[in-house]
Symmetry: D2
Subunit: 313 residues, 4 copies
């Protein structure tokens, strides 16, 4: 009897991961937040989950790490669910930038001064300001709850050490937020908006959590394991598109060419990606390349995508 | 008996086109090349072609216009066929820019100074320099021949009036080319490279020609009407990806969100797009929006894509 | 008997001022700080003071207004007196920028990220952080005292309404300050540095106060009316140079060509300038041109400088 | 009897030059034009000339080198004499930029797209296009003749080797010129304008020639040795101002602070400067610092200016 696809993947996965491990030594763990620099440099792990609930795993897939920018995908979705398309896109654009994720350049060069897209920090901070709730903690809790639901893991929690570290040292994000405030893009109290932003960046997950969240996106908003529709189809489509055009910082174009899957990475070394209709995937590899993406993680996804012929293009 | 999809489209198409016509008055015909400004401002036409060779058409789909930037997709493919991936991507990057198509900004800001991607002018001029051939005219003829083959139309020819007009007034492209030369990106004689570039921009087509070329991309490089494989699958994949991330100038992100199909537009008002595996599409609408894309053409494609649920995301 | 120069100026001054008054209607009072927008739009006044203590005045020279950016000249001098040249210029550069006074662009484009010069906001905020003192209020008081001494007016005080208005709405300056903090240029607490900065911007003066301060600069640091040396000669030289190359925002080059005197303007419509060795000059004209300088004030200074042949070039 | 100032300078000059010589090893000879890279790396020379015709010299002041950007001062003056202030400043601005001399950035960012000032390449190329004459060679000859007259050296000639080298490799200047053409700033044939520009950059001089030209500027347009007025006073004033605010590339601000004299440098390592009313000065030191100015030359001028207390500020 021929092995099922998930069985075939299980067999190959350790070898593919092995082949990507040497990349680890070429990358660097993010150090701009002190707490992040404690991540295990040499780690590499992956979880793939199919619509039957079968998974394939390899390496350090059980390690906990913070979502960081990966959370931007889901705050965008929640902001869309809270406010609708028109309200959200009056505050944030739809264009990829090609710029470094830290750049404030585009905020100045472009009229009318709204952030280019919701995946860059300026855009994601703006999105955080749009989440409904009476207080920063209520907003944060709504985001956390949404992610608990999507991951099927009611135990998801903030990593408060990372949250505090990020909040204390996040001066570039403060700079961006005050610039947005000055330009009328951000309403409300800047520090309160940043509290929401720093909090959702600090939600701790493992590869299995990411894979399950990704599976919901892969299935257009419906969790195939429960049958529950958690996100309207159109908002998943929007999220997928942004993940494709600007999910991997200023290497998004290259990732689209070389891997060809919608994805979002974070500076903790995590990558959330999926194969439409088929697999949710979570990757962890804290050693980053110079674009801020997991060095070995990108290599591993490139290998799998080519071998399995998974590019959506 | 239920109508086939193409029959259904044929029935709806006139209405959809009708609904997009008012956009025409909001746009402007490109005037930066004198010859282009003669295009019929109010025109709008579309041709869809399926893998059985059945087509649906509406409006001014028989009008002739020059390919302009649409040709960049095919010179990229030919350069890849001539040189391979590594050689091409050592000279031109893979990242969308979010910048206006005319901007030289990114050429300066980014190290090592290679163009961001092959869809912006700087990138396409670089790609033109990579086409094999002993002389500008030999290179140009190879491109023309390639497009004749792809369109199944041996009669495709240059519009020499547009070519001359563009060559005479193309000072921004000259500026870009000399900048690339200075930075060692462009080898060879600048004016000869520009001759090749201006020539392929001036190849005249109609909507049916575009639809047929697009159908080959939709079918991963094989013309479904002849069975001939004209482009290696991998190079089609690369072209599709660029069309998705940066085919519509600095409205590429919005087009991906609102239409969700790989596409490439030109300042003549043409758009080439396709539905993977199913349809090649050619559109003409010379009145442009402020991003340089056909105002009514984009509107029409948005309508059809939503009605037919064609977004790839 | 021939009239002395000051007598001749007294005679001509009303006519020159009259001729500049029409400019008032072409300018706009600064509105970005609510409190500033209350300034009398049509006002125009000037005081010239020579080394004998004789003055010539015209128009609304008795009106009180806040120093705003004019204070940057004196915080630079105080920072030099507190820290020396090397320490100051390790944190802030010496180059004019040509950029709009609000631009953050140069902060990003230039390595190693220090502000271009002490006359732009980023530079002046950095300078504020270098003023000695155990607390923001002690630092502010030292600046106020220094200006009281220079103006010979012990009654100089903050305009607390403007201070509060500026502090509440100064989000762009907050954005700049956090960017500087992120880049290691600013040490200490950002809000405390900004308190010092907003306070010295809000010190209220009239034209006579400015003229007296300017006279000290005109006389290389020694007050000719008391004989007291208040500033080391070298630091006056440095201040004079910056006033010449970048004292009038991104119209500094034009002012140097058309007027040819070291000068510093503020968004309240004040201009401090001087004729080396001879006159201190204070001007007020709240209606600003599009570069942020007093429309009528610049016109008036251009007239006087040409008539008196005062350009230093 | 006390020595005259020139005698005192003669005595000190060898020591000052000696003290600046070590800088030579820290600099690099310009290599971007092949012909320039042949300049003697270790050379350093200076000539000072006073209004009596007495000179003080040291080092390699007899070496011949091309004027390069130093010529921009005189083409500006000639363009002013040919066209008047209004016509010239409708095509080129008055603001220093702080940017690298090669940058095209500002051409794009600023409206309406005219060059920032006549001392950057974009501005000087524009100025070249304004020189009267029926042909490139007639324009070039008028510039050469003007410089022969100013230097009192009828033997001044082009260095044709440098001219050809520069013309062949000047792709960045070509890029700039076509950009200016595109924006309507440059009229006429681009290659003809560039011929004029490359030619005046290639006029060969020695330190004595520069000192004599500078002396005319020091004396407001009148050659003190012949009594002939060669330049209207106002145009000298304009040139002096630009030399002060933007004569030393993006180290102009620092030079104003540290030396305090109007000056213009060239990539050949020459510097023309003067003490108003008193001295014309020519310097040669081909080893450049990272801003494109003579490393040892700037050091030498800083020493002399401080010792003699010559800063105009």
């Amino acid at each position: 009897m021929r092995p099922t696809e998930i069985e075939a993947i299980r067999q190959q996965l350790p070898g593919w991961l092995e082949a990507s491990l040497p990349c680890v030594s070429r990358g660097k763990v993010a150090a701009y937040i002190p707490e992040l620099s404690k991540a295990p440099h040499a780690a590499l792990g992956i979880t793939l989950l199919n619509t039957m609930g079968e998974s394939a795993t390899a390496g350090d897939c059980g390690l906990r790490f913070t979502m960081q920018s990966i959370s931007k995908v889901f705050t965008l979705i929640l902001a869309l669910m809270d406010n609708g398309e028109d309200a959200v896109f009056s505050k944030v654009g739809m264009e990829p930038t090609g710029d470094n994720f830290n750049s404030m350049l585009k905020l100045e060069l472009v009229r009318p001064g709204i952030p280019f897209n919701p995946m860059i920090n300026a855009g994601a901070i703006t999105v955080s300001s749009l989440i409904h709730g009476d207080s920063p903690s209520e907003k944060s809790d709504r985001i956390l709850q949404f992610l608990q639901e999507l991951s099927g893991n009611a135990g998801l929690e903030y990593d408060l050490g990372v949250y505090r570290s990020e909040s204390e040292t996040g001066n570039l994000n403060r700079s961006i937020a005050f610039f947005l405030k000055e330009n009328g893009v951000l309403s409300g109290n800047v520090e309160e908006v940043l509290e929401v932003y720093f909090r959702h960046c600090s939600i701790a997950v493992n590869c299995a959590d990411l894979a399950r969240m990704a599976l919901v996106l892969a299935c257009s908003g419906t969790d195939p394991l429960t049958g529950n529709t958690l996100i309207p189809r159109r908002y998943v489509q929007i999220a997928r598109t942004f993940m494709t055009t600007c999910g991997m910082y200023n290497a998004s174009g290259e990732f689209a060419i070389q891997v060809g899957l919608p994805a979002k990475s974070g500076v903790s070394g995590g990558i959330l990606t999926f194969v439409p209709g088929r697999y949710g995937i979570g990757v962890l590899g804290p050693a980053l390349n110079d674009k801020g993406n997991s060095y070995a993680g990108v290599h591993l996804l490139q290998t799998i995508s080519r071998e399995m012929n998974w590019s959506i293009f």
